[in-house]
Symmetry: D2
Subunit: 362 residues, 4 copies
């Protein structure tokens, strides 16, 4: 039994904030006691602040309805109330950079969904099954920035989980990957609310998502990188090229992947075996949100599919299928994950659990 | 002014047959005078034979409604009535092989949508903008098979037109392509009727289309091949790897392509210029169905899109966009075409027009 | 704690059969021990019999995978194995009539999803919140047919639950309804598998579902009827007119209703209060599948909606909203229910629970 | 041959404005010479003003690309340039009321898509096949307001055309209608751009469209009204109740209608005959946009459908089907029309043609 710690959500009224609350409801380790948003919402009960724009399938959990929303920009409001804040604020990049640092400076552990700090050298971009060791940078981060108890970590873009975890499983098993070409078919919930207009996705797909391809190519390099000199140094051994499409699917990002190994390639059945047996630190530490197994390989020819596989492992598992030889590279496969759970709030909560299990919440 | 020739459609009641009739209505060179289908339909007026299963947006053209449908298996019924037949029969492969040859043996020019003869050595797989010269095999085909006036040509699978024509334009301009990895997002009409169940594509995509990837990889090699010794010899210089997905779109196949050139690569603006200036024999011969231009390059970041671009050039043009460097190969781009027009009946009609313009209908 | 009874599913491999297994998994009162289907499936393990055509979101529950499927037509196979069978066989009407009677004659309680027996005079059409008292016909049914332990009850069509339960709540509260005009927007899962073709429902709706309007108008009269002389006598006091449409929604039927009371009408807030306070025998008996409350009235202007409300009460609740005056009748409202749960297998399971709680399983 | 008159579009950059330009391109009677929009767009070429937000399927017609957009609020900019303006401005109601009157006062014929003036007593709400005679109010309108050449007419809401024209055909044939209950299934393009979010209509319908039911019930009364004392007096003989739903369809509003006649009812075949033979002043005057016939009755059980029937009569015809008896009223039927053509810009252009043919453009 863990002693629960008190947490807050800043940017609690937006779609990602709502997903945080949905997933933090009844969480065994975290008690949500602090909600903050824009000055418009400040002073209102949470239920009133999101009236007419609560987009989750289930209703607002009763225990959050009456919490008075604070102004996220007034960091002192959170002091003494919670130990960790999940950040889902929607502001311009510069404002987010400053605000998240301010929370950390005031002693909060900050786990952020925003892209703002993903390229900050001493801020790790966390996929707990891959780079749990990047949390080792925290002492240096604190020292460099003069933070006592505060810390700042971020989660990566929602497009990459369906290929990065399977890819990493192969790398970890001794088969480094040299090149990857990936085409994603991404759900509309990845664009926040309102996201794409119906008229643009009825009987249609959109082959362009601004900024998404760059994130899908560059963020993996940091996640696979090494810590040195108080910085995360990007991996330089893998090249990724991404085509990102928006498709008329509510939740669940699909990735069609072709990969080439750097050295010798494992046999097909070995690849499947590596995926099926893959386990990592979150599973070993029995983190509450860690899916067991983290990777599900399906034998059916026509899987994974968004509406059948996105909820696997409570939305935290990666489902992989269709492993087959590639005419140009070594292998092809299809990966899928739930973009608003594993790819967003769920991934951040798993990171917070890892922080706690590793003792950074003391 | 061309003297119209009389044509027939065998397999006229199925979805591809219906598309033929839709596109042949008011055709300036061809008069549809013969319709044949399965024995069930034989003896009925066409309108009665398709009652309750006419799937085109517009009604059955009035001039076809009262044509009495014949049994497609009784080739003699067509003799004396028409010079060319479009084949869209739905039978097992062996039966199609035999039936199409029987029509050719009886003196008909046969232009087929079926995959059955695509790997027959002396039967060219035609994309008129690419391999019009493959029709040169016809004299040898006739000689080898003892056909006098008959001939047999086929069109390729509907998944490849959106990348093959842009690819060929580059090859023709002196930039041979070494490798290509392509992911297609294919419309449901490509699966015929009824095709995928609604329940399987509402809020979903399907990452698997049986046999489609093999066709998408192999057929291009024949189209790019050379005639020698009375055979079409597959091209051996390009490698293609395809991921084929079914998406909830009615018409219009999209292809996300990454290509690597065999030698030096053209600059981006040269690529665009090559595409925009590409023209080929169908355009030079002013074939009625030849789109002018055959390739449309769009500058908008978010194009091509199925519901905006599939009807370009009356459904016969290829729309290309998003040319950009590839992290792994040389370039990436997105291509799109109308799968039931350019990719099926329209492509076959263009081939028939080419046969006529080149004098094979005499 | 109830002693579990053993049950079977006949027609276990079809889509309704699969829904039964999904919902009977871990059921507190019923143990599934017998599965039967067509002769094709007989002798196979269940998992093999449905390989490639299991359409539920979650995988086949492990405990059912290895059950050997029997031939549903061989009733003796079930004898000694179970006490109750859920019928979801797909055969012609005459064959279903005979087969279900044969199971009842052999001593089984038969709870059927089929429409075949819905107009059989001594077979009640059950919506447990409305006509639990119709089970009183069972002693007469047994006597008339010479059945000892057997019995036969059916559930109604999936289109009516979203309006019948709210309607009945008003009738029960003393406000008989004279007339109702209802337009349904029905999900594709209501059509079984494969159901409508994608190409027919992408960017489209279909204003016709064969036989659905008749069922939606007539079955309510039997449900609201009285037992007399060993028969269910249809209610003659209410007139219903239905327009049934198929819409591109996976699950969840919506009904837009206009009603006119026979006598005086309750005030709007009284209607809402009646619905919110409605409870019935299944709730009083604490049947495991009985939703509490059975009717959820939502105040938001834009509810109910299929993807937000279909899972309310584990798919067994009826969600109602938009109560407002009608220019022509008295009131308008919108009702919604999950068609494959409340409207099909779930409704049948609730009926079986009612049979058990009322002592008919002894 | 008519002498073309010069026209303008105010609010030319929005979605309705774009539809105007699409439909006015190559119009035989009207030359578009003046485009105006908000001050933001003023001074730009039209193509630049709509860059990135042109939502029509085809590209901007070349002849409009270089027209310099004016500020719609500066009415003098239009003086001397055109005789008639189509109004699609998006402003608050009060501002629209004033601006449209100012254009009329300056001598322009104003044909408006806005709802602002629909309840102004001396402004007729036009459906040319129904109330062409309401244009007779124009001399009184001019007199009352002191306008010389100016005039102001509006088109009704896009939800009503599919039932109002069939209804009127019956009334005109001598069968007045007493009551109607209608449920609409409305396309997303009716909501303008961006309209509903994808996430809200994937696997979903929305049973609420703000203000739509009121418009659908009240506007018909004015259209069916009489002119007296310089006002349009609403019809008081028919009662309409409407349920309006948003469905995942791009274009095409469907209406499920139940009607009760005031007196005796025609036989079913007479109803169909009335619809099929219906013709009105726009057809008699051979207005360029008048569909011939205006009402298409289809015998197929499953028609009309949005993606098959919306383009009938170039989007200007009403397609009706499924006439059948109603259990509660006399008859039921389904009507469909293209909401952005007949229901919006196309209906307004037809009204402008009627104004011209009747001599009001002199």
């Amino acid at each position: 039994m863990v002693n629960k710690i008190k947490v807050g959500v800043i940017g609690a009224t937006g779609m990602i904030g709502q997903n945080y609350l949905r997933l933090l409801y009844n969480h065994p380790w975290f008690d949500v006691v602090f909600l903050a948003a824009s000055p418009n919402s400040a002073g209102k009960k949470y239920a009133d602040a999101v009236a007419g724009r609560w987009h989750m399938e289930n209703d607002i959990p009763a225990e959050f309805r009456d919490i008075i929303v604070e102004d996220a920009g007034k960091v002192d409001k959170a002091v003494g109330k919670c130990r960790l804040v999940f950040s889902a604020v929607e502001m311009d990049k510069k404002a987010i950079l400053a605000l998240e640092e301010e929370y950390a400076a005031k002693g909060f552990a900050v786990v952020s969904n925003n892209s703002a700090h993903r390229h900050t050298a001493d801020v790790p971009v966390m996929v707990p099954e891959i780079n749990d060791s990047h949390l080792d940078i925290i002492p240096q981060q604190r020292k460099q920035r003069g933070w006592k108890q505060g810390l700042l970590v971020v989660k990566p873009n929602c497009s990459i989980q369906s290929y990065m975890i399977p890819l990493y499983a192969l790398i970890k098993a001794g088969y480094p990957v040299d090149k990857m070409i990936v085409t994603t078919l991404q759900a509309v919930s990845g664009a926040g609310y309102p996201g794409p207009a119906s008229i643009d996705l009825i009987d249609n797909i959109n082959p362009y998502i601004g900024g998404e391809e760059e994130k899908s190519e560059v963020e993996p390099l940091k996640i696979l990188g090494k810590i040195a000199g108080g910085k995360v140094i990007n991996d330089g051994s893998i090249k990724i090229s991404a085509h990102c499409n928006r498709v008329p699917v509510s939740d669940g990002h699909t990735a069609c992947c072709s990969i080439k190994f750097a050295g010798k390639k494992p046999a097909m059945d070995e690849v499947i075996s590596i995926w099926r047996n893959f386990t990592a630190v979150p599973q070993e530490l029995k983190l509450p949100s860690a899916p067991v197994p983290p990777i599900i390989y399906r034998d059916e020819l026509d899987r994974p599919q968004p509406n059948k596989d996105r909820d696997a492992g409570n939305g935290m598992a990666i489902t992989v299928g269709r492993l087959r030889p590639c005419n140009v590279f070594d292998y092809r496969f299809v990966g899928l994950h739930h973009n608003t759970v594993r790819g967003a709030a769920g991934g951040a909560i798993l990171t917070a659990e890892l922080l706690m299990a590793k003792g950074y919440m003391k």
